[in-house]
Symmetry: none
Subunit: 215 residues, 4 copies
């Protein structure tokens, strides 16, 4: 009974440490984040991190894995084909889902910020991010692009188009702070996201069609 209770307690502490660490790492970056602040937010002891995860670096890796699991539970369909028939419709749905995930703002949405940081300043944990999160997404977009460009499309042109689509979405996330300052009135929330998704989809479909014809 003691073991059971303590095991439950341990799991809860672990979870709280992961959530707190996710927030703090997202806010300050790996090096600037302090284990003290993480423990404070998690309501845990300073030493508990070393007890549960060994050290700061292994905590960080655990956080990235945890973020992946959490995200999969929340958005299970992002990297899987949806039921729509037309690839145009599939693109539209993908862009909207992706944008929504990127721009969703809540204290729990430290996820994307962590990934943005890994892009700019990769840590040893970047392979986790690449393998577990980027690759499925990339494949999904490539599939859509391929069906829009036609069978004769080269791998290079598929990659170029993939990046053109993805870049337009992640831009709003990566450059959020710059956008906020360049266009203070512009807020990417709710209906604005839908409008943005429509633009990106239409813009990209036109680009893809032109590319398909040229090739």
């Amino acid at each position: 009974m003691v073991a059971l209770k303590s095991d439950t307690s341990q799991t809860r502490t672990r979870q709280q440490l992961l959530e707190a660490a996710g927030q703090v790492f997202a806010e300050h970056g790996y090096r600037a984040a302090t284990v003290r602040e993480i423990c404070l937010r998690a309501g845990a002891n300073v030493a508990s991190i070393h007890y549960h995860f060994g050290d700061k670096e292994r905590l960080y890796i655990a956080v990235l894995r945890y973020a992946h699991e959490r995200s999969n539970e929340a958005n299970p369909d992002l990297s899987r084909p949806n039921d729509s028939n037309s690839p145009e419709e599939q693109l539209k749905i993908f862009v909207r889902s992706f944008l929504t995930q990127l721009l969703e703002r809540s204290p729990l949405a430290w996820d994307g910020k962590l990934i943005a940081r890994e892009m700019v300043e990769p840590t040893s944990a970047i392979d986790i991010v690449i393998d577990e999160r980027m690759k499925p997404l990339s494949k999904r977009v490539r599939d859509i692009v391929r069906s829009l460009l036609g069978v004769n499309a080269t791998e290079d042109s598929i990659r170029e188009s993939e990046f053109s689509i993805v870049s337009q979405c992640v831009f709003y996330h990566h450059c959020r702070e710059a956008i906020l300052r360049l266009y203070p009135k512009f807020k990417a929330t709710g209906p604005e996201i839908d409008k943005l998704a429509d633009h990106i989809t239409a813009f990209s479909l036109a680009g893809l069609k032109a590319k398909a014809q040229r090739k």
Copy 2:
């Protein structure tokens, strides 16, 4: 002549500190960067930073301004209209110049990384980056977009298109590490940059034309 040499000596130390600081700030970020490493690379004493710049923060700001000047000297035409007549041609030239600046790789190219960091984790110096570097660029792209979308284009649609164009360029810079790992064979150097610029230009022109017709 004595005065000249002494003046040169001071200027040289300052310059070396700025270059070293640019590299170190780009590699580790503002907080994680240490003045010790900066001075080590500059071959200067730890105290020299405080003599020349006051403190770490003012050194950082000086580095940002210095980067701006250096970049202006290297790419003087990026934010100014060029001689081309057609806006299509202007877009093409802009994209190529911008991409080149972003992807140019050398030990001296810490500039873009610094800005990428400011996007993800703004410091108190972000306004300098926005005002002195982003705004001129943004205006240049807006001008091109406006002439392509026609006089009836709304400010919203101009902004959306501006971001679509810029995002496709900065993506290769911001997400370089991810791209490197997703497509290990792809290197954005020399002729590849031109090919990329062609794609982005064509893709965007098609997107803009479709947008112009819809509106």
Copy 3:
């Protein structure tokens, strides 16, 4: 019992830091004192000060409060009326107690030096010294003076007399170093202190009586 020992350990480190800090602050003054020397004397790590007290300033304040408590335990009757009937006797007892406290010499007697420093070069903690130590003393002396000057004494004349009495005592403390050099043979220890107290009491009583008659 485990808890007790652990508790004792913390208390011991804190106590040792306070004692060491008291000595070092008294010897060098707040600014010139270094946390390194304090920790060295306390046999503790440099970081322990920041663990226990936050920073140097809060350590200093803690030292002042600690000195107050220690002094209260040692001389509990200094600022309280004693059993003597006549105010003359009360003055005599006060002067002797005060002088004794001021001139007592031991490695533990950093207390007075700290206060003397606050007089010459007040830190932000001076209000603590004033409120917790000066005011009770001042009130005690005023009470004695008032009963000697009579009910018609003005507040000004009470204050003047208060200062005349107190000044004669603190002089031996504040100017100890000068006295030592002007009168090398004079040592204010043991019986000398009693003789001094007798002089100050008689001198002051005569002064007070003259003042009472004039008024």
Copy 4:
């Protein structure tokens, strides 16, 4: 002519450094004072101190000597007998002069504060203060006391009385900060100084008379 001009300039810089150093040492104490602030106030170069005085410590000693000279010029009569016939009158004049010198407040009055610091925290320069400033003063007071106590007075009783008189004066200087806080309304300026001098003189004369009779 070059030598003459430079000699004059040198003398002026020296003087300005001494004045500035006097102020800064008085404000912050020897260790906390910085040569930079001194040079800044003197409008001189950081290196000029080492040029004119060698190092910080020798500057400090030079400041003490300079203070002595300056003070002798300003108050030439303090330690010399004045023309009054009665010792009572001599005491009164001495007390008033001494108090005035101690309480005079101006940016140039760093003199007394420096001495007060030497009392609390003697530096290696204390002997200068003792020999050149204290001893003449002490002798003057002893002479007055001796003539008031009569020929049979012991050296001990003369010393006790000397200290009783001097202490009442220096108290207002040494404990100025405490007095300011205990009696915020009390300002020792102009007429208040005269009133204070009257009190101290009367108080002390009564004390001395009582002492003379007892002996």
